[in-house]
């Protein structure tokens, strides 16, 4: 083969390869835009030993948290029973740790939680709720032990040892910044009120609707209740919730974050109902522990996107009566959900997903600007070849 001809074959093939690397999935955004995140992606994957150590540390943390919460539960039990007997609605608030919080600050937290309880329409409930509120003004205590308490809300759900108490752990950490609870006479604050209301989280469902039916409980437990981390009547937009914070399409990290989700969750963002259904109905691998933590794993977020508010949005849409029937249903999960939604689960979830993340386009699609540029380059190349060919013509 002539040398020049070989060059003409190799060069276009090489160019095609470069374009494919730059544009084809899983990177619908040019590589240049992802340079910052590529630094993190080049880390070596953890060794099996490290994974095992991490798993053990996680179990240790969960057990330690459960034990501490059971101690708090024992401390709050007399008050919980007294309130239940006297038919006094509202959660019992417990402030652990050093006595550094003023009485007015404690009173404010209690008042805000009572107000949140009333806003959620909760009265005297079969399952009482205790709220443990550690207030940390600086940094949460750390150390070498993995047994640190969570920095985000966590819950000890009712189980066979105590069926009638749900404990919410709701840390307020100021990280050294000035905060409303530091003041000697703190005034009600909208952000604090919202945080406390949302902090009732999973326990609010137990208080309002009781313990879920066996099928629903099995499904939610296997997923660590990640779909029911917020209470209903959620007034904050999707991007303000924990899971939605990184899902703004105009942000440079959007695509990088999207591809941290499971394939079904990504397909759900692209408005594919079957994938939406699978993403919601899949069972997790969670152990049957009564501890639920809302701490987010940003490297592997729960599916579908915005999962932490899925049950809250469902309850808001279908109303408390229908939701209560779903929550206590003994039907298989897909049937119970479809009955409550009055449509296939995938279809409802597809519509809901579009309110959390604007639908994305998947597949090897080049951007219009790139298409125009490529066409212009192609035309220029053809013109150049034509001119060259005209000059070299032998007459």
């Amino acid at each position: 083969m002539a040398r020049q001809l070989r060059w003409w074959i190799t060069a276009p093939l090489g160019a095609c390869l470069v374009i494919a690397i730059a544009y084809l999935p899983p990177r619908p955004m040019p590589l240049v835009g992802q340079r910052f995140f590529r630094v993190f992606q080049t880390f070596e994957p953890p060794t099996p030993y490290r994974l095992r150590v991490q798993e053990l540390a996680k179990r240790y943390r969960v057990t330690s948290f459960e034990l501490t919460m059971r101690e708090y539960g024992a401390a709050t039990r007399p008050e919980l029973e007294r309130r239940r007997a006297l038919e006094r609605p509202g959660p019992v608030v417990y402030f652990p740790g050093p006595d550094s919080l003023s009485d007015s600050a404690r009173g404010l937290v209690r008042a805000l939680l009572d107000r949140a309880w009333a806003q959620l329409g909760l009265g005297v409930s079969k399952i009482s709720v205790g709220v443990v509120v550690p207030v940390v003004f600086d940094r949460p205590p750390g150390g070498d032990s993995p047994a640190h308490m969570p920095a985000a809300p966590a819950f000890l759900l009712p189980d066979s040892s105590d069926r009638t108490t749900c404990l919410a752990y709701l840390p307020i950490i100021f990280w050294g910044r000035p905060g409303v609870l530091k003041q000697s006479r703190p005034a009600p604050n909208k952000d604090l009120a919202e945080m406390l209301r949302n902090g009732l989280g999973t326990c609010a469902y137990f208080a309002a609707f009781g313990a879920p039916g066996q099928e629903i409980a099995g499904w939610l437990t296997s997923r660590h209740y990640e779909l029911a981390e917020y209470p209903w009547k959620l007034r904050v937009p999707a991007e303000s919730t924990r899971g939605g914070a990184l899902l703004e399409q105009n942000k440079p990290w959007f695509w990088s974050f999207v591809y941290r989700y499971e394939p079904d969750a990504i397909a759900c963002m692209a408005s594919r109902p079957e994938a939406c259904g699978r993403s919601v109905l899949r069972k997790g691998t969670g152990e049957s522990v009564p501890v639920v933590s809302t701490e987010q794993n940003f490297w592997k977020p729960p599916s579908p996107a915005g999962a932490d508010r899925y049950i809250a949005d469902l309850a808001d849409e279908i109303g408390p009566e229908r939701f209560g029937r779903f929550w206590n249903s003994e039907l298989p999960v897909d049937t119970a959900l479809a009955t409550a939604m009055r449509m296939p689960v995938g279809e409802w979830t597809r519509r809901w997903q579009a309110t959390i993340v604007p639908p994305i386009r998947l597949g090897p699609v080049a951007r219009p600007s790139a298409v125009v540029l490529a066409t212009l380059l192609g035309v220029a190349a053809v013109v150049l070849v034509m001119l060259t060919a005209t000059r070299r013509q032998v007459r």
Partner: protein
Amino acid sequence: MSVRLLALVITCSSVCPTLAAQSRWDRQVDARLTQAGATLQGRAYRLAGLVGRGTLNTGESATFSIKLPAGAESALTGVCDDDCADLDLSLSTNGYDIDAARGGGNAPIVRVTPAALTTYTVTVRMMSCRVNPCWFAVAAFVQAFTAPLHSPR
């Protein structure tokens, strides 16, 4: 009427300890127990004791042991709170079911007349509870002897 009222008070005084410290659902269970006691006392049963009480979610069960005296017919009744629609009760000994009340609503009754003093296992299963958990209680009643009227002299 006054005898019936007295019976209610006696039953309640033995079954409902410290009413004031109880929850709404405990009180509902106690009220139903009192009602069942009144019905059974009208049929010559007297309260032998509370077999057990507690809370159960739908599909869960609890077991208790009870010794029943020989010769007299005993009746065990289960009751539950207002959210409970179906409660099952069964009585067994040595692994054999002696009597069972299943699918019959929220006030099941089982009966047995032991030939000798026997220890029975009482199993109570919550079949339907609208808001979990549901409070329940099981009480035993023993038929009072009416023998003097019928026995030969």
